[in-house]
Symmetry: C2
DNA sequence: CCGAGTTCTGTGACCTAGTCACGGAAGTCG
DNA sequence: CGACTTCCGTGACTAGGTCACAGAACTCGG
């Protein structure tokens, strides 16, 4: 649903677009529209050719790969202020890929239609730079993800992820299964690792949630990675 | 070293560029140059800001991530006819990433300087599409790599890789260590798995090489993935 | 050709993580 | 309250990664 009153200055939410000349900003605003989707909505999917580049204003989108075996790997998360460049891959109808995007919360996003996108890429070096940086960022994110998967221990990765996902009260709302999907591992591994964390007094467990009680311990463990 | 006599029609080696209007083809050829590098050369590296987009004419480039722990993960391989889009990330000086590119063989490539690249992206929808497709392809390659790492058994992955790397005589020239790097695993795992393959009569082992003697067995195992 | 040094491979012991099978606890809803 | 579903815990087993070490195979200077 278009929300007319907020259309004017969403551009400033995106680092890199603020420096666009006023004339192109106007064109961008005029040539795109704001869309909203409820939590759980499929933002994009293989086969479904998207006709818009999405810039996320509010909420998060989870991008995951659906494997042949039916299981899912979490790839990355698009936050407010990020652009979802994978939709450009859809736009270009580029070969078959198996990633899909799910709205984790209610989301609001700017949808830039292919025509406007193409026009701006052609005319504005600033916009080009914005798009290429978004792509590069995804690539480097995936590089570090691969590095983590291959070399990092599960407990370290879980500790880091818990700290990321905790709300302001220090509670993570997620089942062990969900955490397993995030990290590309099995539920049992999460259960066992969390049990160990609990034994150390770092967390308290309840159905569907993990309360962080000893952040410092988790942080020390998580730093075992980045420090080395 | 520029090789003047072959400059004219390298464009046809790149699917997607053939349809450029003649005028832009001329500009592309005029505005770029052909470079050669010996095997083992560092094609690009973090920190070193590249000023060219490379289109590979001959040879292969191995792109790998150097982890903090000193070990390396193989990310993907750039073949003749591919473009090395990661250099555009260097071009834009985008944040720190830890991937570097090594020439595996003597290579010859077209180097498109930033100025020409930018100009062509602005002016030609065909060139834009070429660049975006190259990016998307890398993204999807990484998606499937992650999927493989997480869900695929080592023996299946090794069988597939051996078939890929074999020369026309059915021999793979690589140490177990190198194969381990390719697949992001330990040398010992490769040694053990190869020993098992040998026991089954699929390969013969010698220092620094693996001779494939029972391709059909390897192929059957490798298909265990793609089939499912 | 010899011998020292290096690189590559094989192997056993051990640990982490993923898989399978199951049971029980905690919510949901008629 | 009882049937059902979802979530969690656990033991047994396998695959794969780590460590330590030994021997085989090449290299190269003399």
């Amino acid at each position: 649903m278009t929300v007319a009153t907020t259309t004017e200055n969403w551009i400033d939410n995106f680092e890199g677009l603020g420096k666009l000349p006023a004339e192109l900003k106007d064109e961008l605003v005029a040539g795109s529209k704001i869309v909203e989707m409820p939590a759980g909505a499929q933002v994009f999917a293989p086969g479904q050719s998207a006709d818009n580049l999405l810039l996320l204003l509010k909420g998060t989108v989870r991008v995951q790969q659906k494997s042949e075996t039916g299981r899912e790997v979490f790839l990355y998360r698009v936050h407010a202020g990020d652009s979802c460049v994978l939709t450009t891959a859809c736009m270009l109808a580029f070969e078959d890929y198996a990633a899909d995007g799910i709205a984790e919360t209610d989301i609001r996003a700017v949808a830039i239609p292919r025509r406007t996108f193409d026009d701006l890429v052609a005319r504005s070096p600033i916009f080009r730079s914005f798009v290429f940086k978004a792509y590069s960022r995804r690539l480097t994110d995936l590089f570090t993800l691969i590095d983590d998967i291959v070399f990092q221990r599960m407990d370290v990765r879980l500790a880091a992820r818990l700290l990321e996902l905790a709300d302001d009260k220090g509670v993570v709302h997620a089942t062990h299964q969900v955490l397993g999907n995030e990290l590309g591992t099995a539920r049992e591994v999460i259960s066992r690792t969390l049990a160990e964390f609990q034994r150390r007094g770092w967390v308290e467990l309840a159905r569907g949630e993990v309360r962080l009680t000893g952040r410092s311990g988790l942080e020390r463990l998580a730093r075992a990675s980045t420090a080395a």
